[in-house]
Amino acid sequence: MQHLPNNLRLLIGAGLLVLILIGFGIYFQSLPDVPPADGEIKNADKPLAVEGIESDIQNGIHEPTGLIASEGLELVIAHCTACHSAKLVTQNRADREGWEQMIRWMQETQNLWELGEQEEAILDYLSANYAPVKTGRRPPLTNIEWYELKD
């Protein structure tokens, strides 16, 4: 490069830099979407593109989200976790009508998009895996961690 004039060297350098950065941009763009990690924030105006989640499933749970692995898991990750944590799903329980009401509320007030023909499958998943569990009006205390209390 020694024989080249200074301004030409600069031009080539700048050109190379632009090419590298374009490549970098394309690389980022082509990455498949990933569900948000705990506390991660995403811009949500469309479902996530979900690929290759099978390898993250252990003991029937999709580890990164904590969602139960069964028919419809991909759709729930794609649509629900685009905006909020999967914990908002996993800590709630409702029947099909209840889940549908939550979806309507999110569509009416929280910018959730139309789910189209995938809505049925999402409701199937939610109502099967996160159905209400009947409890007494005040069930017995459970999960007690016993420990010795000294004076």
Binding site: G25, V34, E40, S85, P132, I144, W146, L149
Partner: protein, 409 residues
């Protein structure tokens, strides 16, 4: 929070910004605004992010909702690391204390007036109070049929020491009209969808609540700057109401001639059926009433549930009792599921809306499994129910008695 957000901006500005500059065009295909690639965001632990105690329980991380456990709340004044977080949106980034302002406006404000933080602190007298903040949905997890939302157990309550200026003093300085009905707040948090036209939450308080001595525009908690997760640099504090009225990151207050109509003011949010309903009933919004006063409640904060003691060993219990108005006049415990109740020693509140300390020394008649139940009664004679109280669609106001498990062996 400060560090990751700076790093995020740095990354956004350098890698993407310079790319756009070099190409001479807006990047339309790159990472969307607010998106942080997974590998770059490792800070998702509330201990590291907000300095929370390791036993705090994360219910939700987007938005952040984190609760304490009963035994974590034993301090008379709740320290920041044991204070629950209830957020509706995304915590604001890059808060500049020097340029932060509070604007008072609205139909019933005499004028539109803006104060810097410094002006608020110097123009008005500071006041400090220990004030209970309890989420309206604390205890939601016990309702059946289940109510949607964060499934709080018992830990969405705190009593920290808040310092600020009286909202009343500021409103009087601005001048408010006779037709003022409500004060609504606007904070700097972002909607989960990142839609800049949407507010995550904008609630408020009736004007008479705004005028109380203990209703503050707070800038300090426990004699330090308010932690970011709890509303730094300016938070409305109106104890006795659901904590959602105590808006965080406040930049604007609207003095309204009607009930404030901001986000999550309208039913079903923070509302219960005006008339009691059978569990599971679909209740129309027009039949729902906004929650104001929080109910009488108490918590056994020592010992932690699950204590095993020796036969003939006395058990000291202690905890706090509080109510949304007035005070607690009687505190009792039962070791036989409510068949008999015995009194606890009960301290007076250090100021209105502070919780009150109770204590008792218990002897058990024989070996076995016991539950210690605690029940507070307020000055009106209203007590806590042993069962979950009236069902409501969103699962608010569960003030059922708290209980701990004890084994005498």
């Amino acid at each position: 929070m400060r560090k990751p957000s700076n790093r995020r901006n740095f990354i956004k500005k350098t890698s993407l910004g310079s790319l756009g500059a070099l190409l001479g065009a807006k990047i339309v295909y790159a990472l969307p605004e607010g998106y942080l690639p997974l590998a770059l965001n490792q800070e998702n632990d509330p201990g590291k992010l907000f300095g929370k105690h390791e036993e705090m329980v994360v219910l939700n991380d987007q938005p952040w909702n984190v609760e304490a456990q009963a035994h974590l709340l034993d301090d008379p004044v709740t320290p920041a690391d044991k204070m629950f977080i209830r957020n509706n949106g995304i915590i604001p980034e890059d808060i500049n204390v020097n340029s932060w302002t509070l604007t008072i406006k609205g139909e019933s404000s005499g004028q539109e007036k803006t104060y810097s933080l410094q002006e608020l602190k110097t123009k008005f007298n500071p006041h400090s109070y220990q004030l209970v903040l309890e989420c309206g949905g604390n205890g939601r997890s016990e309702f059946y049929p289940p109510a949607e939302g964060n499934q709080w157990t018992v830990g969405a309550v705190s009593c920290a020491r808040w310092t600020g200026v009286r909202l009343r003093d500021v409103l009087r300085d601005v001048g408010i009209k006779d037709n003022a009905v409500y004060v609504g707040y606007y904070g700097a948090d972002t909607h989960l969808s990142r839609d800049p036209n949407k507010n995550p939450i904008s609630r408020g308080i009736p004007i008479n609540k705004a005028m109380e001595d203990q209703t503050l525009l707070a800038y300090a908690m426990n004699d330090q700057d308010i932690p970011i997760a709890h509303g730094h640099p300016l938070r409305l504090i109106a104890s006795g109401f659901p904590a959602s009225v105590s808006g965080k990151w406040i930049h604007t207050l609207a003095v309204r001639d009607r009930v404030h109509d901001g986000e999550k003011m309208a039913p079903p949010s923070y509302s219960v059926p005006c008339e009691p309903v059978q569990p599971g009933t679909n209740v129309a919004n027009e039949d729902m009433c906004i929650i104001e006063k929080m109910p009488v409640k108490s918590l056994i904060t020592y010992p932690k549930s699950g204590a095993i003691i020796g036969e003939n060993q006395k058990l000291t219990i202690r905890g706090h009792a509080w109510t949304g108005a007035g005070n607690i006049s009687e505190m009792e415990y039962s070791i036989d599921f409510g068949a008999t109740w015995k009194p606890c020693k009960l301290k007076a509140a250090v100021n209105p809306y502070a919780w009150q300390r109770f204590e008792a020394a218990i002897t058990f008649p024989q070996k076995g499994y016991y539950e210690v139940w605690a029940k507070a009664t307020d000055s009106e004679g209203i007590s806590q129910p042993m069962l979950t109280p009236g069902w409501n669609p969103k699962g608010y106001l569960n003030n059922a008695c708290h209980r701990i498990a004890i084994k005498v062996s």
